[in-house]
């Protein structure tokens, strides 16, 4: 049963102390807002505004294109300046809607709010879809798709992922401290959708105060339990979270619902709650601005579409010249070569580092120490997989289950020879997945 942890994994320096104790602050954009049309897994959204249109806060600017797709909303009021290719976090230029902010923040939405108990399940899911909510932990899988389960009675657990195992990130922590009741309200919506399920709020034990708060708040809730997980990266990985709290294992071919689980990130649950309780679409993200070149590391409530540059300027610029800037955490985040890219639905942090460990390291020969095998939470053999990757040996790669890799980066982290194991495996995996699709 529940082991509250998993085998493998690593304990990197967590860096959360820098930003965890300062309350979230709202910040308004000063530059144009940029909304890439592709912000989630699935088809990009289709714009429904054109150049010159005046839009309000909460006005839909692009609609979903198909079932696995999600609509976009303007987070400011102003004029649509262009629909053109703009640089995004991915490093590529992507088709985006650009809105120039008039600074008035005139709001528009007028969704009817009903008590969720009186709503139909299909009505709830439709509202979630309409609100543009996707998995905000990073993957960006549209939430309504996840919740559209054929047999809702077969779901045993609704798991809220409060692990936040990435070093430096504290946005989930701040949300748990500042609005725990919202998370519980959100979870209750899930429990209505899945009538036979048990709600589990899973939090790593380095966030003791959160665990205490939730235990106190859910004392009277028969269908909600709080689980304290052992702190270890990557505990927040969906597969390892499910294993830690239920003892059930899934691989790359199974979905959480195949083992009766629905897993959602803290912020996703809050957005679901806001869509149902307040009738608001997804407009904001909480972003951890941190790293040792940041003057005052803290969390910001940011309007989606805001440039990361605005965030840094609001914070008073850099204390020290950053060498590397990462969107997300240090383990799985995406490095940026240019700071002027927009916050999207799946952004969670901006980490500005003064040292770049990785660039200074020269990979040397593998000494077969086995640390990668020990650290791999998927019980793979990263050393072998990266050998296969380097030699393009697709047969060997598949035989050693390379497709099961979750790209957590533990192997590269522990490697004493500083070999880019995760990088090689990741690219090989991408190639193999692409081949499969063909």
């Amino acid at each position: 049963m529940a082991k509250l942890t998993f085998n493998g994994g690593i304990h990197p320096f967590d860096g959360k102390e820098m930003s965890k104790n300062i309350p979230i602050k709202a910040v308004n954009p000063t530059r144009d807002l940029v909304y890439p049309l592709s912000q989630s897994i699935g088809a990009p959204s289709k714009p429904i505004v054109s150049k010159g249109d005046y839009v309000l806060v909460g006005q839909k600017i692009a609609e979903a294109d198909g079932f696995v797709s999600s609509p976009l909303y303007s987070s400011v009021s102003g004029t649509v300046k262009a629909i053109e290719e703009r640089l995004t976090v991915s490093g590529k230029k992507e088709m985006s809607i650009v809105i120039s902010n008039d600074g008035l923040y005139t709001e528009s939405w007028a969704w009817e709010v009903k008590p969720y108990e009186s709503m139909d399940n299909s009505e709830i899911i439709e509202r979630i879809r309409e609100a543009g909510i996707v998995g905000l932990g990073g993957a960006g899988f549209p939430t309504h798709v996840k919740l559209s389960v054929k047999e809702p009675q077969k779901i045993d657990y609704c798991i809220i992922n409060g692990a936040e195992c990435e070093p430096y990130l504290t946005s989930d922590y701040r949300k748990m401290i500042e609005a725990p009741e919202k998370i519980i309200e959100g979870l209750k919506i899930y429990l209505k959708l899945f009538p036979y399920s048990l709600g589990i709020i899973a939090i790593e034990d380095n966030k003791e105060d959160c665990i205490k708060v939730f235990k106190a708040l859910t004392k009277e809730e028969p269908r909600i339990i709080v689980k304290a997980l052992k702190t270890k990266y990557p505990q927040g990985s969906e597969r390892h979270l499910i294993y830690a709290v239920t003892g059930r294992e899934i691989n790359s071919k199974l979905l959480p619902l195949d083992v009766g689980c629905i897993v959602n990130n803290i912020d996703t649950v809050i957005s679901v709650r806001d869509a149902i309780f307040e009738g608001t679409p997804l407009l904001y993200r909480i972003i951890t601005l941190t790293g040792n070149s940041i003057r005052n590391p803290r969390n910001y409530k940011v309007r989606i579409g805001t440039s990361f540059l605005d965030l840094v300027e609001e914070n008073g610029g850099f204390k020290q010249e950053p060498k590397k800037i990462i969107s997300g955490g240090p383990m799985m985040g995406i490095p940026l070569f240019n700071l002027d890219v927009p916050v999207t639905k799946t952004s969670s942090a901006l980490l500005c580092m003064t040292d770049d460990d990785v660039m200074e390291m020269e990979p040397s020969e593998c000494i077969n120490c086995g640390r990668c095998v020990q650290a791999c939470p998927e019980r793979l053999m990263p050393k072998q997989l990266s050998d296969f990757g380097e030699h393009g040996n697709s047969e060997g790669f598949l035989h050693y289950h390379g497709l099961e890799c979750v790209e957590c980066g533990c192997c590269s982290f522990v490697c004493p020879a500083k070999r880019p194991l995760a990088q090689v495996i990741k690219s090989m995996r991408k190639m193999e997945l692409a081949k499969k699709k063909r």
Binding site: E249, D258, K324, M331, L336, S364, M381, E404, V414
Partner: protein
């Protein structure tokens, strides 16, 4: 400043452990045994070890220069090889033995196969076995200053008794580094605490060996007899410092257990049925050859393989 920032694939942080830091830990862990060896066998032991280390480093450097490769001596692994070889030599050897041995270890066993990480056999042990086969009488002469007497294992074979405390302290005959079990164990504990090695191989190795000796050693499960065998010869040095050599042991956990068991069996067979009564070196290099096979059959079951729909 350029407008472009550094980008590289994730993860963006790395652990502080490096190949050289691991090798350095091994060197430090071997110092108690080295120190005791020099104290016990005299200044000549120091010369032997120093020559072995010096030759190992020079051979590697020269090899890199001649083959136009980047110098790899900075990873300290040549020092470890030289040191281990020195500790595996009797003090009576002429001084060209460590030079020849280290040269063989580095050039033939290690570098010709592609350098650190590619050698399939422990270089120090490969060289020692080469020396034992080529110069048998020199390599098995354990006399000090011309006075010869028996090593603990030889004495036990002859039916004489050996003082256990002397064996623990190292006040016996043998190669420079193998006599003091205590000094070796201090180093081994250090390596375990620093997470450089884990106990899977030493424990299964020694455990299997003890069981084997209990059954086939001829004295049953006699505690003193078995302890003498564990402390005698090169077992402690081999089990903790050479069987655990990363490059030449299996990478998987299950593989290490199998490897340890094979080592224990082979060492037992060589000690009981072999001609010399010693068998650790041969057991280890033979098992080294089995590693690719062991790794092949011990691929771990991936996470979620047992996962089934609607469990």
């Amino acid at each position: 400043m350029s407008d472009l920032l550094n980008v590289s694939s994730n993860p963006h942080i790395r652990s502080k452990t490096t190949t050289s830091s691991l090798m350095f830990s091994v060197i430090v862990a071997l110092l108690p045994a080295t120190g005791y060896g020099i104290f016990h066998f005299g200044l000549k032991a120091f010369y032997i070890i120093a020559l072995a280390v010096f030759t190992a480093v020079c051979s590697e450097k020269l090899f890199c220069i001649i083959t136009k490769r980047k110098s790899t001596i900075g990873d300290f692994s040549a020092i470890v090889t030289g040191l281990l070889l020195g500790l595996n030599l009797p003090v009576s050897v002429p001084l060209w033995i460590p030079v020849l041995g280290s040269f063989f270890a580095i050039v033939v066993v290690k570098m010709l196969f592609g350098g650190l990480g590619q050698n399939f056999m422990n270089p120090a042990l490969g060289a020692r076995c080469f020396l034992v086969i080529s110069f048998a009488s020199i390599m098995t002469d354990f006399s000090i200053d011309g006075v010869s007497s028996a090593t603990p294992l030889q004495a036990m074979r002859a039916g004489d008794s050996v003082n256990l405390l002397d064996m623990l302290k190292g006040n016996t005959l043998g190669t420079i580094g193998e006599t003091s079990a205590l000094a070796l164990l201090i180093g081994a504990v250090l390596l375990i605490i620093l997470n450089v090695i884990d106990v899977s191989i030493p424990l299964t190795y020694i455990g299997t060996f003890v069981v084997f000796m209990g059954i086939f050693g001829g004295k049953g499960f006699d505690a003193i007899f078995l302890t003498q065998h564990v402390l005698g010869g090169g077992l402690i040095l081999g089990a903790f410092f050479m069987a655990t050599d990363y490059v030449t042991r299996p990478i998987t956990f299950a593989g290490r257990i199998i490897y340890g068991i094979i080592l224990g069996l082979l060492t037992g067979i060589f000690r009981v049925f072999g001609p010399s009564g010693e068998g650790v070196s041969y057991a280890i290099i033979l098992s080294n050859l089995l590693v690719p096979l062991i790794e092949k059959v011990t691929v771990p079951t991936f996470f979620g393989k047992r996962g089934t729909k609607n469990a």
